[in-house]
């Protein structure tokens, strides 16, 4: 396949096929089911389903978005913008960061966590972004997508 050639290419993020994070998110609750015979501990999976699929609009959500908005470094009257240096902080505290954290937690629960290559898998998940974004033309934006 020509996937390899594409990976060098550009803006489309192509995760490694074997990345555990993707396998969990994409295939875990799919496929043909014979109900009585699916033997998997559901502890981690239920968490994953709830946190990754539904972000409930709640007061807590509103406050997180308000905080993220307040941290923007807007040029108030010109309509232009200055991109902030604390994007990393904002994403950590913003809704997206929170969901990501919850998903990682669920993955850890599912896979037992703690073993040595857990970190490797998380890295696999993030590394392609960083690598690909080096071809981005906007250095400020790049920082934001290389979290």
């Amino acid at each position: 396949m020509t996937v390899q050639a594409h990976r060098g290419g550009g803006y489309l993020d192509r995760p490694a096929p074997s990345s555990l994070a993707d396998v969990v998110e994409i295939i875990l609750d799919k496929g043909i089911v014979i109900d009585a015979y699916v033997r998997v501990s559901l502890v981690g999976i239920e968490l994953l389903t709830i946190d990754a699929r539904i972000v409930i609009a709640s007061v807590d959500t509103y406050l997180r978005f308000a905080e993220a908005t307040n941290r923007l470094d807007l040029v108030e009257h010109g309509g232009g913008r200055e991109l902030p240096d604390f994007i990393h902080d904002m994403q950590q505290s913003g809704a997206a960061g929170k969901v990501g954290g919850a998903v990682k937690g669920a993955k850890k629960a599912l896979t037992g966590g703690g073993d040595d290559d857990e970190d490797e898998d998380n890295d696999d998940d993030e590394r392609p972004r960083r690598r690909r974004s080096s071809s981005s033309s906007s250095s400020s934006r790049r920082r934001s997508s290389s979290r």
Binding site: V3, I26, I32, V38, R53, Y62, F65, L72, V99, S144
Partner: protein
């Protein structure tokens, strides 16, 4: 076929056609693959210990490795991960016999087609900035609350967040519609896995004719480039058609 032993169970990977050539890979617990044939369909299975715990990371990896290795050999309908039956007779009795025609039909539907998983998300600070610039109420509430302690003007902060999330969701739907309108003509079919909203703009399983997969990848690369800095496109696959099979 090895007769099932007393303390083994049958781990089921996928349903294929009876003439499907098994790939040279091992499955869960490094066990060999076997084919259980019934009429127009067959199940790819392996033997596992009956009392082993299931759902470990290595199991998931072994399962997906087997399913993907089956793909070059012809149509594959993956079983849900973790499907373990007591023995081959139960497999035939509970799945292959009652669903034979349905499974054969589904194999026909995914033949020569590949699945992708597309996830499109907003680049948070870009979209928040756009929302603030577009909505004077957001700017006013921001100006009123941003330099005060977090517990001050909580009502205004909630209102600010509410306005922002409403715009965010509306814009996510608009972008999702726009992307879908461009993509759908190239697809065999698709399934929205999660509605547009705060979590993602698009969370989509795509089924694509193998001959068109390069075209779809190229289009997505182009769309990702066009909206770089505002939308993040993440495309996994091609993979087996996990989202497009089932015993419904």
């Amino acid at each position: 076929m090895t007769p099932p032993q007393q303390d083994t169970a049958t781990f089921v990977y996928a349903v294929v056609r009876p003439d499907h050539e098994l790939p040279d890979v091992t499955g869960v617990d490094d066990g060999p693959l076997e084919l259980v044939v019934h009429g127009p369909v067959a199940a790819v299975v392996g033997r596992v210990s009956d009392d082993r715990p299931n759902g470990r990371r290595a199991d998931l990896t072994a399962y997906s490795t087997v399913v993907e290795a089956l793909v070059p050999g012809g149509a594959v309908a993956p079983m849900r991960f973790g499907t373990v039956v007591p023995d081959d007779d139960v497999l035939v009795h509970d799945l292959l016999a009652p669903y034979a025609d349905d499974l054969a039909r589904q194999l026909g539907e995914v033949e020569g087609r590949r699945q992708y998983h597309l996830r499109v998300t907003f680049v948070e600070e870009t979209v928040l900035t756009e929302i603030a610039e577009a909505d004077p109420r957001v700017r006013e509430l921001r100006a009123a609350t941003r330099d005060l302690p977090e517990d001050a003007l909580v009502g205004d902060r909630i209102r600010l967040g509410e306005l922002v999330t409403q715009s965010w969701e509306r814009w996510a739907r608009a972008d999702a519609d726009r992307i879908l309108a461009e993509l759908v003509p190239m697809l065999t079919t698709h399934r929205v896995r999660r509605e547009p909203g705060l979590g993602s703009v698009l969370d989509l399983a795509l089924l694509v004719e193998s001959e068109r997969s390069q075209e779809v990848e190229d289009r997505l690369e182009h769309m990702a480039a066009e909206s770089a800095g505002r939308l993040h496109f993440r495309l996994a696959g091609p993979m087996a058609p996990y989202d497009f099979v089932g015993t419904g």
